[in-house]
Amino acid sequence: MRFAPTDEQRDFARALDDLLGVAAVPHIARLWAEGHHAAGLHLWRRLAGLGVTALAVPEEHGGLDAAPADLVVAFEALGRYPVPGPAIESVVLAPTLLAAVPDGPAPEDLAEGKILVTVAAPPMTPYALDADMTDAVLLLEGTTLRAATPGRRLESVDRSRRLFETVPGPTLVRLEPDTVATALATAALTCAAQLLGAGEHALAVTVEYVKSRRQFGRVIGEYQAIKHLLADVRVALDFARPLVHGAAVSLGAGSTDARRDVAAAKVSASEAAYRASRAALQAHGAIGYTEEYDLSLWITKIRALVSAWGTPAHHRAELLAALTTGRPTHASDL
């Protein structure tokens, strides 16, 4: 057993941090929200250069055929910096769903980051992200994959999430139920990883803020009310992360517990990130409540991602179903 990121995964995370840390991602996200995609597309090309877009593409199509654990590393970084765009849809779902569609968008182009694809999967994910600017819009209805076109635009609380209704087009393929289940589980897992990253960022900026903000003659980080608020966030994130990593291991191994473990990861990461966002807002006070302060990008993104790719209620129900059907489940069976 070695339940920790590998050296390669640590290096990958560091490379992503090096790129995104100096890329003015909040500014790019704000431009994206206004429909100005050029800077965001440039960022996606740079992410492609690090291999992000090739992770889930099979090797024979120029991809990396990476493990779910590698996806988790990438998506935690995409959450730590509010990278706009259909990341889960294009990086995780499109390569899997399109594998059996010979005349669809080419996996080589996905791998190289030349194209972006979006996906709606009602009822869990009723709207397609960025459908007005992607190279393809997919609609997953049960096991039926259709082409679609963008319909009415809807506004998300996270302004960089530009949502669209979809107008169904021709059927592309009927997929195996297992393919769909694994694809959606991987989507929920990477969403959980994004939430972890976003929660970590919200905590980090808040720790810096409370170390410098002075009230009543002392920095507010000295007050126990603030310390305990943020300690609880640290604890919540520290105990959500192993669930996300554990679900990645389960998915990667094709374990029968994978859906259970992904459900646990998504519930836990949602709760931890949401706690982080609430604590961050409270500790910042009024400045945190403003749109112009960058913290707003994370507060709104976390709220949006909590209900994306399966609400907490959905995943709790999945978990309970997995725990009570079939063989008796014991947490202690590896």
Binding site: M1, A4, V207, L230, D238, L320, L323, A331
Partner: protein
Amino acid sequence: MNLDLDERVRAFRDEARAWLRENVPAEPLPHMDTAEGFEAHREWEMTLAADRWSVVSWPTAFLGRDASLLEWVLFEEEYYRAGAPSRVAQNGISLLAPILFEHGTPEQQERYLRPMADGSEIWAQAWSEPEAGSDLASLRATAVRDDARGGWILNGQKTWSSRAAFAHRGFGLFRSDPEAERHRGLTYFLFSLRAPGITIRPITKLDGHPGFAEIFFEDVFVPDADVLGTPGDGWRVAMSTAGNERGLSLRSPGRFCAAADRLVELWSAVPDAPAGLGDRVADAWIAAQAYRLYTFGAVTRIAEGGAIGADGSANKIFWSELDVRLHETALDLLGPEAELRESAWMDGYLFALSGPIYAGTNEIQRNIVAERLLGLPRGR
């Protein structure tokens, strides 16, 4: 990143599972904080020790199996999953023994470890005093040098000593240098609870059993051979125990995983449980699983030369609060039957309520997390 068990570890786990299946008493023992239950639990310790299952992580020379940290975690999972009795020797094994291994003389190790491992000597801790709880360093019980007899004279009062009503021996800190401030001038002593000058007054806990006691010391003589570590160095010596108590060794994930599985079974058996309770059952299971996986991460870190440090405080907050929530959920599922003492869930609940208090209250732990993990400034 993987969770695979190698052959050796798997064989160890399977052997433990088989032994427990054969040997765990079919009927629960009487509560260990009663005279009858204390003896029954000591007998269980002897049964464990006879086949070398009482202290698996200790060296073979001291009745252990040299088990790795991972093997110990898996043994604990099997232990709780099998519904095996509470460990009456727990405080000695998890709080004192690590210090005896690190700071004890070979002679002390010879004298105390085997009787601890086989249940013939049960140890009680003597940390808290009436005026020293979370602020342990403010303790007042004294140790005065007696050169003529080659030892120390203890005076004062300890309290909230778990198991002391029935145990044989105690360990704790005493102020050996009255001039020194707080953490300095403390000495770590081992003593017989039957020594002349000691008076034990059992204290009945919330669960109705005398699981605590006060210990009064009136000119109790302790020979030099029963000083653990160097005189005056007691705080540093003791703090390795505090770390253990908070961290891995006192509450392994096995206890919570087994309880979470039983909670899921309880929920399945209540056909019309309100939906909200189902969500809480899910959350309790998730928390137990989180603690389990977190522990595997910690085991990996330690195996690669890392340390637990202040993460032990985050750990303690998490398991103690998950334990309370899990048992609260079970009681809510039991409906109007919840208050009845015949259910094991009520015993578990009452035990869980102590978790956020002992081994450093969770408020103290949150300060540690904030200051040492997040880097917030110390309060004035």
